[in-house]
């Protein structure tokens, strides 16, 4: 049976090195500013968490094999090598202490997209057998059961029945030819069942046709988090097959950040061609409906609300104004965190950190940055649109005994819909 090995890891590094990577490594001036952008450094104060250092293995491969000078140095034995021990040491740096939030990529003065390179480095970590157990487990469950949490359709089915009985609305399943195919995340199904009910209500209200698919309802992609394009491609292919089978033109990614980037940005490249459908985050869809006047709301929340932009949605996908438009629709007293939108701070749980039990302490350390941001503004409640962020915010706020509930934006919109009878 084949095995993951250092050689495969090095080959993966080489495979991943492209012109941007070479330009980035050629440009780093070791100014250390990326550290000030990274919640894991800022909140631990440990310089080993400086983002550029997390890329040292990849940098070495680049320097010794992709530059003439480095190759000459290699000939006389002066180029430092990447060893298995090194990669073992870097496992913590590349997984436990990086949520792939991309904040460093926005701050680096020479324009290094560090997050882009961390994503690439993880390919080599996987191929060399240095991925964290927690993420391997999630990937394995995702491939084998369709859900990183090992959920089965049965569980979802129970929820569907529940939503149908409580709302009196139909939750369409496997309906071909509708406008949207809706995906969910296991985290939502378990922790935030309100979401499914909310979209059922909103879509009914707006007259949107949609469906779930029994072949594939899971939007998240453990392959992206662990950093294996092979695993990720297999998971994306399931979405594509389901959408094609149901002949939908639009697929909705749920309130989950990485699921959206996985399907929206990486997916087509994983399978090597463009999709026959378009991908949206639920927030984009809701804002489109709002703009088209298809969502009518009444009443507004009056308490002080603030917003956590999921990194994957805002900085990494450009969905920034949409959630604010929607907030304006339903909130009277909305206040942004000081650094928000593309400059927001990560909750600390992304990039697989939350599936990596070993990284718990770092996850909570990184959260302190968010906590500080929240304290600065002092809201009564926080609103967000990613189940992972939401779970992390809830856990974190509880840990620090801060009584600030966290709500999903979609639910909040659903709560303010004008009742059908009133509209007529």
């Amino acid at each position: 049976m084949s095995e993951l090995s250092l050689e495969r890891g090095l080959a993966a590094f080489r495979e991943e090195i492209d012109a941007p990577v070479a330009a980035f490594f050629s440009s780093c001036i070791r100014c250390g500013l990326c550290a000030t952008a990274c919640p894991f450094y800022v909140e631990t104060g440990d310089p080993k968490y400086t983002p550029i250092l997390k890329l040292e293995p990849m940098r070495r491969v680049w320097a010794s094999e992709f530059t003439l000078w480095g190759r000459l140095k290699g000939l006389v034995g002066l180029a430092p090598k990447v060893t298995d021990e090194m990669l073992a040491e870097w496992e913590e740096l590349l997984y436990d202490s990086c949520s792939m939030c991309g904040r460093c990529s926005l701050v680096c003065p020479v324009g290094n997209d560090l997050q882009y390179m961390i994503r690439k480095s993880r390919e080599a970590m996987v191929a060399s057998g240095h991925a964290p157990e927690g993420l391997i487990g999630a990937a394995s469950r995702a491939i084998r059961t369709g859900s990183p949490m090992g959920l089965q359709w049965k569980t979802l089915d129970v929820q569907i029945k529940h939503v149908e009985s409580s709302t009196g609305l139909e939750v369409p399943v496997d309906k071909p030819g509708v406008e949207y195919m809706v995906l969910l995340s296991s985290m939502e199904i378990i922790n935030f069942p309100e979401y499914l009910e909310a979209i059922a209500k909103i879509f009914d209200h707006a007259g949107v046709t949609w469906t779930l698919s029994t072949d594939c309802y899971e939007a998240t992609n453990a392959g992206i988090q662990i950093g294996s394009k092979d695993i990720a491609a297999e998971l994306v292919q399931r979405v594509v097959d389901a959408a094609v089978k149901l002949k939908v033109k639009k697929v909705i990614s749920p309130e989950c950040g990485h699921a959206y980037t996985a399907i929206r940005w990486e997916g087509p490249n994983l399978i090597g061609k463009s999709y026959p459908f378009r991908v949206f985050h639920i927030i984009e869809v809701l804002d489109e409906l709002r703009a088209a006047g298809r969502i009518k709301t009444e009443g507004k929340e009056t308490d002080r609300l603030s917003l956590h932009d999921p990194c994957n949605l805002a900085r990494k996908s450009g969905v920034i104004d949409q959630q604010r438009n929607l907030m304006d629709l339903v909130a009277d007293n909305f206040v942004d965190l000081k650094e928000h939108g593309k400059y927001q701070w990560c909750c600390g749980a992304g990039g697989g950190v939350s599936s990596n039990e070993r990284a718990e302490h770092l996850k909570m350390a990184a959260f302190k940055r968010k906590k500080a941001q929240i304290e600065e503004v002092g809201p009564d409640r926080m609103v967000t649109m990613c189940a992972t962020c939401r779970t992390q915010l809830e856990e974190g706020l509880e840990e620090f005994n801060m009584d600030i509930p966290v709500v999903g934006l979609t639910e909040m919109i659903a709560e303010h819909l004008v009742e059908k009878e009133q509209r007529a």
């Binding site: 049976m1 084949s2 095995e3 993951l4 495969r8 080959a11 080489r14 495979e15 090195i17 094999e65 992709f66 530059t67 003439l68 190759r71 996987v126 191929a127 057998g129 991925a131 157990e133 391997i136 487990g137 990937a139 394995s140 491939i143 084998r144 662990i226 294996s228 092979d230 695993i231």
Partner: protein
């Protein structure tokens, strides 16, 4: 004969007044940056000085230095000092020629052995060059210099050719020209460079030598510090414009008319040590920079091969543009080859690539 008169006697014989003589001494003192209180001491020293015998040798030169020395409009102290030394041999100036002239040289050498001063203008073909490149009365320059130096007290190399090689040495130096100091062995050498040197500097150096009877304080190039201690740039009256960043860019633009700094027109004043800016030329009338022309750096070694006279000092003499282009193109080719190699490796990796399978990952659990 005249050889045995003191300088004072000789001056009086020439009808130079005491006042005129003191004026000259004062000028000498100020040229040498000595306090005016030194004037009587200089006068006393000069009064007592015996007219030393001077043998002036001209080798590969243009006679510009001699011209410079002699082109004075009215009898000046410079002329006087020439009269008061005993110029026993100067084949450009002397009436005698041929064997008679050479005879005069030999006599002077014999009679003043160990005491005479040799002045040289022009460089000479070195010992390894064809001796026929430059001869006087059938004697090669090299042989004549070596002979003459033997009994010399010191040698003064007048002009940049004698001091540093000068134009005859310019690339490719066909005659193998060398400067006097490279052949002078342990004879003291005073270099008075300039192409040509300022006349007052030539006479001043001689006066100084006569006054003190010893070598002046000199810089690393054996140039007397009294005249070569400061750069043209440091004493240039256009310096305020340099400091303000006001430069003439052509010879007839507004800046040139306004007398702005000539740096951009190639002025080598910043790296040139000479007395033009303080002593000026043509009896103090003007000097090149004042006349609107950049300094060529003529008192510096290699000024003849240091790039264009009208290129700024910062401009490299070589054809850097083509070096840049050629190296850039080679770099692109080399880089291209290196990158192609790296890409080949990537391709090979890809061909052998084993996709990561879930059971491989699970082995790690």
């Amino acid at each position: 004969m005249a050889h045995h008169k003191t300088l004072g006697e000789s001056l009086r014989a020439h009808g130079v007044s005491r006042r005129g003589f003191l004026k000259f001494c004062a000028a000498t003192a100020s040229m040498m940056a000595l306090p005016p209180t030194m004037t009587p001491a200089i006068a006393a020293a000069l009064e007592q000085a015996r007219r030393p015998s001077v043998i002036w040798l001209s080798f590969q030169e243009c006679t510009g230095c001699t011209e410079s020395l002699t082109r004075s409009h009215s009898p000046t102290v410079e002329d006087l000092i020439l009269d008061v030394i005993s110029l026993d041999y100067h084949h450009t100036l002397q009436a005698a020629s041929g064997e008679a002239a050479e005879h005069a040289r030999e006599v002077a050498m014999r009679e003043n052995f160990g005491n005479y001063l040799v002045v040289v203008d022009g460089s000479l073909p070195g010992p390894d060059s064809n001796p026929g490149y430059s001869t006087i009365a059938g004697i090669s320059n090299y042989q004549m210099l070596m002979e003459t130096l033997e009994g010399a007290a010191a040698v003064v190399a007048v002009g940049t050719c004698a001091a540093f090689g000068g134009l005859p040495q310019a690339n490719p130096n066909p005659t193998g020209a060398v400067a006097v100091q490279t052949l002078a062995g342990d004879k003291p050498v005073i270099n008075v460079p300039g192409c040509p040197p300022v006349p007052m500097v030539i006479t001043g150096v001689l006066a100084q030598y006569l006054t003190f009877g010893k070598l002046p304080e000199m810089d690393q190039y054996n140039r007397p510090l009294a005249f070569f201690g400061q750069s043209i740039h440091d004493r240039c009256y256009r310096r305020p414009f340099y400091d303000k960043g006001l430069f003439a860019e052509t010879f007839d633009d507004e800046g040139a008319r306004a007398g702005w700094c000539l740096y951009r027109l190639g002025c080598k004043g910043p790296s040139t040590y000479n007395a033009c800016a303080t002593m000026r030329w043509n009896a103090g009338t003007s000097w090149p920079v004042e006349a609107g022309h950049p300094c060529l750096g003529c008192s510096e070694p290699k000024f003849w091969d240091a790039g264009g006279f009208y290129d700024a000092l910062s401009v490299p003499p070589g054809d850097t543009g083509s070096t840049l282009l050629a190296a850039g193109v080679s770099g692109a080719i080399i880089g291209g080859a290196a990158a192609a190699l790296a890409k080949r490796r990537q391709k090979a990796d890809l061909a052998e690539r084993q996709p990561v399978k879930i059971d491989e990952l699970e082995q790690k659990l």
